[in-house]
């Protein structure tokens, strides 16, 4: 026969620990358990570069601007306030004083390519970076001729 006072939990009708929030609200037992759990939680020393990629991008994995390619040149906007930037974003802005390709940013900061592209897109939207997008998809013959002449001069 069930205990009429505790219809939700017939197996332990009278146990005080079944509903800790209700039964022990004044005892403080739960609050004694929480503080010791906090300090060992995040490995503070390793936080810098070992963040998971989706943490750096606030969970985004797509929505990439297709105009931001591997070779796309990026340079930082002088004078843009670097407040409220994450360390990774600041590192990108810092690196791009002279124009740099997205691939180079990724390699130098040892940051995933996809992450780099997302962060570069964010920084561009926020006015911290110039992203130099090319108008035409395929280079014109004159540009290709210049590459040919340039390569020929390599010995």
């Amino acid at each position: 026969m069930r205990h009429p006072a505790d219809p939700d939990d017939p197996a332990h009708p009278a146990a005080p620990g079944v509903r800790p929030f209700l039964g022990n609200s004044g005892s403080g037992v739960r609050y004694q358990q929480l503080p010791p759990a906090l300090p060992p939680g995040p490995p503070l020393g390793e936080q810098g570069t070992s963040l998971r990629p989706f943490v750096l991008t606030s969970g985004r994995v797509d929505g990439l601007d297709p105009n931001i390619g591997l070779e796309t040149q990026v340079s930082s906007q002088p004078g843009a306030p670097s407040t409220r930037l994450s360390p990774e974003q600041r590192a990108i802005v810092h690196l791009c004083g002279d124009p740099l390709s997205v691939a180079e940013i990724s390699a130098r900061l040892r940051m995933h390519l996809g992450v780099t592209r997302i962060l570069v897109g964010d920084l561009r939207a926020a006015g911290h970076l110039d992203v130099h997008v090319l108008e035409n998809d395929f280079p014109d013959p004159e540009t290709i001729m210049r590459v040919i002449r340039g390569l020929r001069s390599i010995s």
């Binding site: 600041r90 390709s101 691939a103 998809d137």
Partner: protein, 216 residues
């Protein structure tokens, strides 16, 4: 702030402190070069990184990309595997043609399972050099297939690692079943001049394409 994995390269950052005495830094800053790129593709261990390193003015840098859900199915990690992402490495280098023009070379994994990232890679590329090792010629099939379908000019470069070629170029052409207008050259990935000549063949193809595009 503290994030500086390359402390020895700090000069990159200090070279352009915006608070310098030069005042308005806008128009005086270096204009970015126009980037062009050539893809160096091929199977694992055929000499892509060697090729890039032979001609690049910087030692090849490595960037990592994630293979995510899009690769599942092709990659087939097996039912027991909970793994949904794989990290792949991509090597690249560059050649500065002049102040306003810079050639990038991207060495890309040629296996089928990485094909998802080629769309990004190929966008705007001048062309591709498909590096072939004649002892494992089938490694380059996915790359050849992809470039044919994408309409990207490409050249097959048979890497003569050991100074000798196992097969003559006609036999390689037959084995790859590429069109007659796709050049097949032999080169040695270790030597700059040899890589340069192979790339020049790619550029010739690219020039043809650019001329046709302009004419039409």
């Amino acid at each position: 702030m503290d994030f500086d994995p390359y402390p020895d390269r700090r000069i990159v950052g200090t070279a352009r402190v915006p608070t310098g005495p030069t005042g308005p830094s806008g128009p005086q800053r270096t204009a970015p070069p126009v980037p062009v790129k050539i893809i160096v593709a091929g199977g694992f261990g055929v000499g892509k990184t060697t090729t890039v390193g032979a001609i690049s003015e910087i030692s090849p840098l490595t960037t990592e990309a994630e293979m995510t859900m899009e690769g599942v199915g092709v990659d087939d990690p097996g039912q027991a595997s909970a793994k949904t992402t794989t990290t792949i490495a991509m090597d690249f280098g560059c050649v500065t043609i002049d102040q306003t023009l810079k050639l990038y070379l991207f060495g890309t994994p040629g296996q089928t399972r990485f094909a998802f990232m080629w769309d990004d890679l190929v966008r705007g590329a001048l062309g591709a050099l498909v590096v072939v090792d004649t002892t494992r010629i089938d490694d380059c099939y996915p790359a050849v297939d992809y470039f044919e379908r994408a309409g990207l000019p490409f050249v097959v470069g048979v890497n003569t690692f050991n100074g000798q070629l196992g097969y003559n170029l006609d036999e390689v052409r037959w084995a790859l079943a590429v069109r007659d207008d796709v050049p097949i050259v032999q080169f040695d990935a270790r030597f700059r001049g040899s890589v340069r000549d192979a790339l020049l063949v790619v550029l010739d193809q690219a020039l043809d394409k650019a001329m046709k595009m302009r004419a039409s």
